[in-house]
């Protein structure tokens, strides 16, 4: 009896401790509070971040000289306007007089000087400074301990900053929109030590109000934000935990969610009420199979072309991704601003041509191929359906047996980055998402001879020459023409089999107005407001 009583008491305590279910995430209807899902940010230090989870918050809390408008055009942010010298190397930025940090302190050119010096200081250990600020004269020298100062960043006066880059680079302004270039408050960092990001003094449209890793992050409106559009949301609550996003959205616990593949069919069904709330965003991302052009049999361009022609991409992508992603025939996503390549001649599905190309290759026949291993991402389970379909297609259309090797993220990347990487082909469910909306971020970064991200080891000096020309070219039409030419050469020489361009699907409650969903990470919540 005593035990029964004790158990009853425990159950009673538990039941009494239960708040009403509806109380979770309850927000008054007239409040401007947006509830979304988030991920744990590895850091909120703009100079240490390189991942999308961190950048999502950083772009709202901090800001820099340049940002993008909704057409992905670089527009002034903390800089009110700028001048570019005739030789395209010197940028003079005139800062806004009304720009202030969250604590009210005015933003001065000296703050930018401090921020760039810190980013290029090897002690900071920023791994994005090299990529995004490396064009600035002196940054790479400082990163390599060869200089104490970034000579290319000069304070002209409190509100004028001059930046000199090593050679004309049309895309340089786009790079300045990346978090590594954001302005930081020296006092905030020096007082806060290693954990200064617990209370960051940023300049962005929102301030960090609360951070509980694994639980929630709350951003509050910055009422002194310096430019239009001024943020209207009072608060953004990012839930970092919490089970099924779809169920929570349907129970009105979240105001917007990204839809996963499992729910795609449901929400794209026009008869489903949720379909009215569905939004589609073409991201600046491409997924592909990559060949190691130094390894047989992919050291022969005809074999690589044959592997392009032998894959029925349309069928595979439309079946596996349920017609939710466009098939990629080229390298650059169609959502890229100021770029289009309507005359691109793709390597279309043609198994007969594929077999002919193999016969013409130095191998003559697939029986002369060495064993082929296809390295894919995974954690020990079954491979994805795309991978299965790719392997089956090559077996059916070329008679090639391909062995799939599944490795986790760290091993996959380690292998890829080894200079003596002997893997032959990889990818399928791995891709590249742009950091800035410029063809340079695809063609130059991924295909230039010796580039760190050029894992295929593809190298064509003629392509590099065109890439140099494009980087210098100020005329957008001429520049687009050069990049079109480069894209065609790369498609023809086939270090990749492009598979599909990334598309995101979002559900957004009808009362969330002006819900701009950009194709890449950039500040967006300042556009939003709620109308219940």
């Amino acid at each position: 009896m005593a035990r029964t009583t004790w158990l009853s008491l425990l159950v009673a305590i538990i039941l009494l401790g239960l708040p009403a279910s509806g109380a979770v995430n309850a927000v008054a209807a007239d409040e401007q509070v947006l509830r979304v899902l988030g991920q744990d940010p590895p850091t909120l230090d703009p100079q240490l971040s390189g991942d999308s989870a961190s950048a999502e918050y950083i772009v709202e809390i901090f800001s820099g000289l340049v940002t993008f408008d909704q057409d992905l055009k670089p527009v002034p942010d903390l800089a009110e306007w700028w001048q570019i010298s005739e030789d395209g190397r010197v940028y003079t930025f005139h800062l806004r007089q009304n720009a202030r940090f969250h604590n009210g302190k005015p933003v001065r050119a000296q703050d930018f000087k401090y921020s760039f010096e810190r980013a290029c200081d090897p002690a900071t250990a920023s791994f994005t400074a090299d990529t995004y600020l490396g064009d600035i004269v002196g940054c790479r020298d400082k990163l390599a301990h060869h200089a104490n100062e970034v000579q290319g960043v000069e304070v002209v006066d409190d509100h004028t900053l001059r930046i000199t880059i090593d050679q004309p680079r049309v895309y340089f302004l786009s790079k300045l929109s990346f978090p590594a270039s954001f302005v930081l408050d020296q006092e905030n960092i020096e007082r806060g030590g290693d954990t200064w990001t617990d209370q960051p003094n940023g300049t962005g449209p929102f301030k960090l109000a609360e951070i509980q890793l694994g639980e929630r992050i709350i951003l509050e409106r910055n009422d002194d934000y310096y430019r239009e559009p001024k943020p209207q949301l009072e608060r953004i609550e990012f839930e970092l935990a919490g089970g099924s996003a779809m169920v929570r959205y349907e129970q009105d616990e979240l105001d917007m969610i990204q839809v996963g593949m499992n729910d795609i069919e449901r929400v794209t069904d026009p008869n489903n009420p949720l379909n009215q709330e569905l939004r589609q965003v073409e991201s600046l991302g491409v997924f592909y199979i990559e060949f190691n052009v130094n390894q047989p049999p992919f050291d022969d361009v005809k074999v690589r072309q044959a592997f392009n022609h032998a894959l029925d991409r349309s069928r595979i992508i439309n079946v596996v991704y349920k017609k939710t992603r466009p098939v990629a025939w080229g390298i650059i996503p169609p959502s890229m601003p100021n770029y289009d390549n309507p005359d691109l001649k793709p390597l279309e599905f043609d198994p007969d041509l594929a077999r002919e190309l193999i016969a013409e290759s130095k191998y003559g026949d697939v029986s002369e191929f060495p064993d082929i291993t296809f390295q894919v991402l995974g954690a020990g389970g079954a491979t994805g359906r795309v991978i299965e379909a790719i392997v089956a297609s090559y077996k059916d259309n070329l008679g090639v047996d391909i062995e799939v090797q599944q490795t986790d993220w760290a091993t996959f990347l380690t292998d890829l980055n080894r200079p003596d990487n002997t893997n032959q082909m990889w990818g399928g469910e791995a891709g590249w998402i742009a950091d800035y909306p410029d063809p340079h971020n695809f063609l130059d970064v991924l295909f230039r001879c010796g580039s760190s991200q050029n894992h295929s080891h593809y190298c064509n000096p003629a392509v590099d020459k065109l890439l140099d020309e494009a980087a210098r070219e100020q005329d957008n039409t001429k520049r687009e023409r050069i990049y079109r030419q480069v894209e065609q050469i790369i498609v023809d020489e086939a270090p990749w089999v492009p598979l599909f361009f990334e598309v995101e699907y979002w559900l957004v409650k009808p009362y969330v107005k002006n819900a701009y969903l950009p194709p890449m990470i950039m500040p967006k919540f300042q556009y939003y407001y709620l109308e219940h």
Binding site: L18, P42, T43, F127, D130, E239, V247, N417
Partner: protein
């Protein structure tokens, strides 16, 4: 007993050094570079070398290991690689608290309900109640978490929206009900089966027959004489259960979106976040060592003969 306890506690540091050494060696010699995981697609070998130097990963294995042990002695587990400049203890603390609550509550319910059901099944051995209990607990145990979790969510969060579909608002909140229930099914089945088997065996013993012959009531016989002896094999299982209190439950935490140790452990493994991985491994080792120590001490409480030995 005290000497035994001291001896066991003295072994603990040696055990931890061995566990740390094995984990360290696996990380050092195993595939996957933490810098590659950290830098991702932005990998650049100069930057990777600079970062590796900063984290001390370019030093010889033994030097790295001894430096680590020296720091751990001062309870400094270093900084996470993925969560930059975040001390490991700061990352683990809140997650450990959640995992401990979750596991403690589910273990408690599992053990108490399991023993109760086991006793009832033994008492009604061969009858319908016995069969229903054993079938029920084994069914709960047999359905994998990745099936049972979504079913519970579907029923109690979607079809009959009584409970939230996930998250963690504390142990005494609706968000804890489903994960605690799901996690309690495992220990419940084990304890019900073991209690039933132990009780049936003990009930056949001569001293039970003697107790019956003395005219004691069935309840006194079960509670005073049978249960105590049936408990001894259960304590070994309890030791392991106590040890697992600090262990994350990755599947359950993922399904219900609970920010506990399981998710952190999984992220750390895939991201080669060695300082976090080693700290979690050591914590789990301490958990098991202490859990078994408690179980050994409880043997003495339940059976005085062991205490005297």
């Amino acid at each position: 007993m005290l000497a035994y306890l001291v001896r066991r506690l003295l072994w603990l540091p040696a055990l931890l050094v061995i566990v740390a050494f094995i984990t360290f060696a696996l990380g050092y010699y195993g595939p996957g570079d933490p810098m590659a995981a950290l830098l991702g697609p932005r990998y650049n070998k100069e930057v990777a070398a600079r970062l590796a130097h900063q984290y001390g990963f370019d030093r010889p294995f033994l030097e790295q290991f001894f430096n680590y042990v020296q720091r751990v002695v001062r309870l400094d587990f270093g900084e996470s690689i993925k969560y930059r400049h975040q001390p490991v203890t700061r990352l683990l603390g809140p997650r450990l608290a959640i995992t401990l609550q979750l596991n403690a509550a589910s273990s408690f319910i599992g053990v108490v309900v399991g023993i109760g059901l086991g006793m009832l099944a033994a008492w009604r051995r061969g009858q319908l109640v016995d069969r229903i209990i054993i079938f029920g607990v084994m069914l709960g145990r047999a359905i994998p978490t990745f099936v049972a979790g979504p079913i519970l969510l579907l029923v109690f969060a979607r079809s009959i929206p009584l409970l939230p579909p996930g998250g963690w608002d504390g142990l005494f909140s609706p968000s804890a009900v489903l994960p605690v229930l799901l996690l309690s099914l495992g220990p419940m089945a084990i304890f019900a089966r073991q209690t039933r088997a132990g009780m049936i065996e003990v009930m056949r013993e001569d001293y039970i027959r003697t107790a019956r012959a003395k005219g004691l009531t069935e309840k006194t016989i079960i509670v005073v004489h049978a249960l105590r002896n049936a408990f001894i094999p259960l304590l070994t299982i309890l030791g392991f259960l106590l040890g697992s209190l600090v262990e994350g439950t990755f599947l359950t935490e993922t399904i219900f979106g609970i920010p506990g140790m399981g998710l952190l452990a999984f992220e750390s493994l895939t991201g080669r976040d060695f300082p976090v991985i080693i700290a979690i491994t050591l914590l789990v080792a301490v958990g098991y060592a202490m859990g078994n120590l408690w179980a050994d001490m409880l043997y003495g409480v339940v059976d005085p003969r062991i205490r005297r030995a």
